[in-house]
């Protein structure tokens, strides 16, 4: 049996892709049987709108699957997916404003939408994207969201992350900055949040790798 035949058989026999492609990225195909039938038409139209606007549909499909798994009633489930669409639109607007003249990558838009869902404000998100427009923004945004969740001042947190970036920290190493700030805050002796941030700033770029 020639290698070409083996390759052809392998291609024919490979498992069917999880997502059968259609107009909305195959979302509704994956949702059949997983979400209430009453919610499917509305979700389908939301997914179609996202696809028409070149927004990522996967976060919306995930939200619908989550609602189905949790047995969320159809109306609330649709509202949850719709809220996701609104966040994606807002995220795309932020990315477009921060990096004008470029078609925003779907990954950037999804990461910004996730950061907005975690409570980061648009201006903070935009500032962090502007610092490194060509890098995946997810780690920096999560680091900022971690700091804000631990009651650090959002602007001061963004200042620290921008400085960390300027001193060479990239990607998930930015998460270590947030971990270090939290450690400093919890250190015995009672540091204030601003003291903790100042201490981490003095350590940069030598923050210890920590838990993500």
């Amino acid at each position: 049996m020639s290698w070409k035949l083996v390759l052809a058989l392998a291609l024919v026999a490979r498992p069917a892709p999880l997502i059968a492609q259609n107009g909305n990225g195959g979302g509704t195909t994956r949702l059949n049987g997983r979400v209430p039938a009453a919610a499917l038409p509305a979700i389908d139209s939301i997914l179609a709108a996202a696809a028409a606007e070149s927004l990522p549909t996967e976060p919306l499909v995930q939200k619908a699957l989550e609602g189905g798994a949790k047995n969320i009633p159809a109306d609330r489930l649709v509202n949850g997916v719709r809220r996701g669409l609104l966040q994606l639109r807002q995220a795309r607007a932020i990315v477009s404003h921060a990096v004008p003249g470029q078609s925003p990558p779907e990954g950037h838009v999804a990461a910004v939408a996730a950061a907005l869902a975690r409570g980061l404000s648009g201006p903070i998100v935009e500032r962090l994207i502007t610092v490194a427009p060509d890098e995946p923004p997810g780690p920096a945004l999560h680091a900022a969201a971690d700091l804000v969740a631990h009651h650090f001042d959002p602007d001061s947190a963004a200042d620290l992350l921008v400085e960390a970036h300027n001193k060479g920290l990239r990607g998930v190493r930015l998460l270590d900055v947030a971990v270090a700030a939290d450690h400093e805050l919890q250190r015995p002796g009672g540091r204030t949040p601003s003291e903790a941030l100042a201490h981490v700033r003095a350590m940069l770029p030598n923050v210890r790798p920590g838990r993500p």
Binding site: A69, G80, A117, G171, G210
Partner: protein
Amino acid sequence: MSPIDPRLQEALDLERDPGDLPVDLREAYARFNAATQMLKATPPVSVAARVMAEIRQIPPPVHSEGPARRLIHWLGRPRAVTVRLRPVWTLALAAGLAAVLVLQWPSGGPTPGVAQGIANFVGQFPGARSVEVVGSFNDWSRGTLHLNDDDGDGIWHAKAVLPAGQHEYMFVVDGERWVPDPLAGRYVDDGFGAGQQNSLLIVRPVSAQP
């Protein structure tokens, strides 16, 4: 070689009464006679036959022990083993072992790819019958990632290789109770209007793990 005394020769040829011999010749006659008798006597069995007879007389061991104990004794008994090696195969075996050592044998457990990382899920659920993780990494499907509590101490564990990046998830306890991971450290509103929060996991790619 000294010639034998004719009187002794005559006595040995039974032509003279040995009692007529002088004392010294009589002793010589006695020694000759004894030697002759010894040479005449044929051993009843060969040496080999006698040795084999002795061996046969050794009583066979009485197997009062169980089969397992006999097997242990058999395994522990020293045995002569002849090994014949071809140098080419010996060198090939050595090269193979060296390659394994250099390339480092995987230490077990899941092995992540470059764009993946390992996630450890731990939850304390005393008395739970089952705990599983459901999240965006498994399309929120039930029954794909179960936690285990092998020692029954109420602390449930699971380890999984996941794509690097952000994942939302929850624990499902006893198949019906949805619980955020209390150790997650990051949470996000699930967006369905009831104020429920998902846990948030950020998986570092294996190349970036400390």
